[in-house]
Symmetry: C2
Subunit: 390 residues, 2 copies
């Protein structure tokens, strides 16, 4: 129950990529037939991905994953539009792969006017459900703003942001709009034309593809520099020998996602509601994290008062249940997550954050098993907890 | 005969990575057992790679390939050492993945002193064999120099650079030294302690691993910033969910390379000499490109006067032979390669550049077949050529 951290590649995805790990091993840049065979596979993968998010194939650039796509979006736009535009607007609950490049630009970045001014970043507040207010975006835009980057759905608490509403504002103001859709592509309907974004990031391993491959959608006409520089691959937008098996895999994963999408939404919503309702019924002093309805079908994030997230995780693990405290990417650390803090959770409560996330292989029986095991774990931990009712 | 462009993954490499594309799909950042199983696999891969190049496992950072490793080396060092150090020394025959980040820094980079000075790059000349003179490196170093980056062996002409000699100079001067070893790791002995470098780039698909995975060796104590920013993976040196199957694969490829290395050197040297001698004997007006002895065993690059490289390639392809004109990364373009120009080849001759590159699956029979087919192709093309003896 940790599908938000990663997913098992679909068997058909592995099957599809295997020939490109074996006999069809050409380099797409090579002029000979081995190379051209690999190039054709790359272009087929591009079409499949474009078809999933409703764009043109040439608007897809393959990357090594969500982090590279996010870094690329931030650096690509700001380096192209500087020094006239030196301002980025984002939110306090973005993934670190957005926040860290922003911090880097603020601290280390060039001084576009030669006077040490550097880049500026506005980090918007969110409400207690994790929602960005589109009017806050409007208010933050200045004539120096190059880019707005707001995630499609939050990885920890599952809240889906009002991307269409924000896109209307950025369009009106003539500012580029990027969305980190790592948690939504393949999970809910992601249609870039309907959303109205200029840039969008995604990662295969979050939707039943392998790790090490992702993409960035770059709307035709969007002005940006490269991020990885070298050869002329990906129409000069991203250097590096194409990860052919990975591209074939993400293409297949996109194709399968397109077919299974409504089924996935239905199934995970159902299981999540079953889980939420059961937990709320069986465990006192817990609450749902994130927006109750504007949320990812797969995400079941809760706060369990008077217990530590890590203790819950390890006890669940002993029972064969995988879950997460906040984001997998920072789960090595003991700090309360920036997302949990940004939605106004008290420091004590924030320790009790736990995220279950559902996927295509989960069953009702598994949810029942969690509902049987988890309340006992909470009860045991609370009995030992110094935090309880102090 | 295009192993310098890419190689087929070794069957044992594919076998080793498969479980990590299937049941062992955990995210190494997850605290539960599925995550820890993946983490253990990543650390095993790191040990195998470290063992191949004789360093500590914690000195290896996995990347998406050679391009990212090279971009990382350049940006990582210069952003850390600026504004005091703002100068990079490299050569005119480096891969584009070194040259392009350098061009970007020169043109777009920050002004470290706030006065628009920006970064400076010295591009060293090479001799007619493609060799960098270590004394040129010494002469170019100033008190502003942050980094010297000279490739271990050139991808087009195969010349092996005097890395140890250059390392002595950089060490003496207190300047970091990076080498792009994409063409050498797994092909010839690469021992970072013996070479004396601080940073080294490599890519799995050049030594019988898959595309989309590489590494950078960062000597303990080397000061550099991140390149991909976000989560705290790779001991905070490279954000992004680890490409677990890719890392298992590059680990296995490194292990196999270590075992097979002397055999690979012996075999490819033998086949290359057979090819060179046969070509020189059978075709008039050709010459070897690159240094005759200080060269990669696998590389058989030649200049065939009075013909176009691309015509040779396409005719070879029709006979089932894969080769390359210069680097695969720029082979979409019709420009004469920067490497061929830098070694002083005349514009006319540079069009006749062709590179055969040998590998573990090539046989003497295949070399004989090339020696039978290729002279006829050259003869045919020369008969039609407007360049001939004009």
């Amino acid at each position: 129950m940790d599908y938000a951290a990663t997913t098992p590649p679909h068997p058909d995805v592995v099957e599809a990529m295997l020939p490109y790990l074996k006999e069809k091993f050409g380099n797409p840049s090579s002029l000979h037939s081995f190379g051209q065979e690999a190039k054709a596979a790359v272009e087929e993968g591009r079409k499949q991905v474009a078809n999933l998010i409703n764009c043109q194939p040439e608007e897809i650039v393959f990357t090594s994953g969500g982090t590279e796509s996010n870094n690329f979006a931030i650096h690509g736009v700001i380096h192209k539009l500087k020094p006239n535009k030196n301002h980025i607007i984002t939110s306090k609950i973005e993934h670190h792969a957005i926040l860290e490049p922003c911090h880097f630009l603020e601290k280390e970045g060039p001084a576009p006017d030669g006077a040490g001014a550097g880049f500026k970043v506005t980090y918007l507040d969110v409400d207690e459900d994790g929602l960005v207010n589109p009017e806050d975006v409007r208010a933050a835009i200045t004539d120096k703003t190059a880019l707005v980057s707001i995630m499609h759905a939050n990885n920890e608490i599952g809240t889906i942001e009002p991307i269409k509403e924000i896109a209307k504002i950025t369009k009106e103001k003539g500012v580029y709009f990027h969305t980190d859709a790592v948690q939504t592509v393949g999970q809910i309907d992601v249609d870039v034309a309907d959303l109205g974004v200029d840039l969008l990031s995604a990662s295969a391993h979050k939707f039943y593809g392998p790790k090490g491959i992702g993409f960035i959608y770059i709307k035709k006409g969007t002005r940006m520099t490269q991020f990885l520089r070298g050869g002329s691959q990906e129409r000069n937008r991203r250097a590096s020998t194409e990860n052919v098996p990975g591209i074939v895999a993400i293409g297949k994963a996109a194709e399968i996602a397109k077919t299974e999408l409504s089924e996935r939404i239905k199934k995970t919503t159902e299981l999540r509601e079953m889980l939420f309702n059961g937990l709320l019924e069986k465990i006192p002093d817990i609450r749902i994290n994130g927006h109750r309805t504007k949320r990812l079908p797969k995400n079941a994030a809760i706060i369990v008062k008077y217990v530590e997230g890590e203790s819950m995780l390890l006890n669940l693990d002993l029972e064969g249940i995988a879950a997460s405290t906040g984001s997998a990417c920072s789960s090595g650390s003991l700090e309360a997550s920036h997302v949990i803090r940004a939605i106004g959770t008290s420091p004590e409560d924030s320790h009790g954050s736990i995220r279950f996330s559902l996927g295509r292989l989960n069953t009702k029986e598994e949810v029942k098993y969690v509902l049987e095991v988890f309340p006992k774990i909470v009860q045991k931990l609370r009995a030992m907890s110094p935090l309880r009712r102090k």
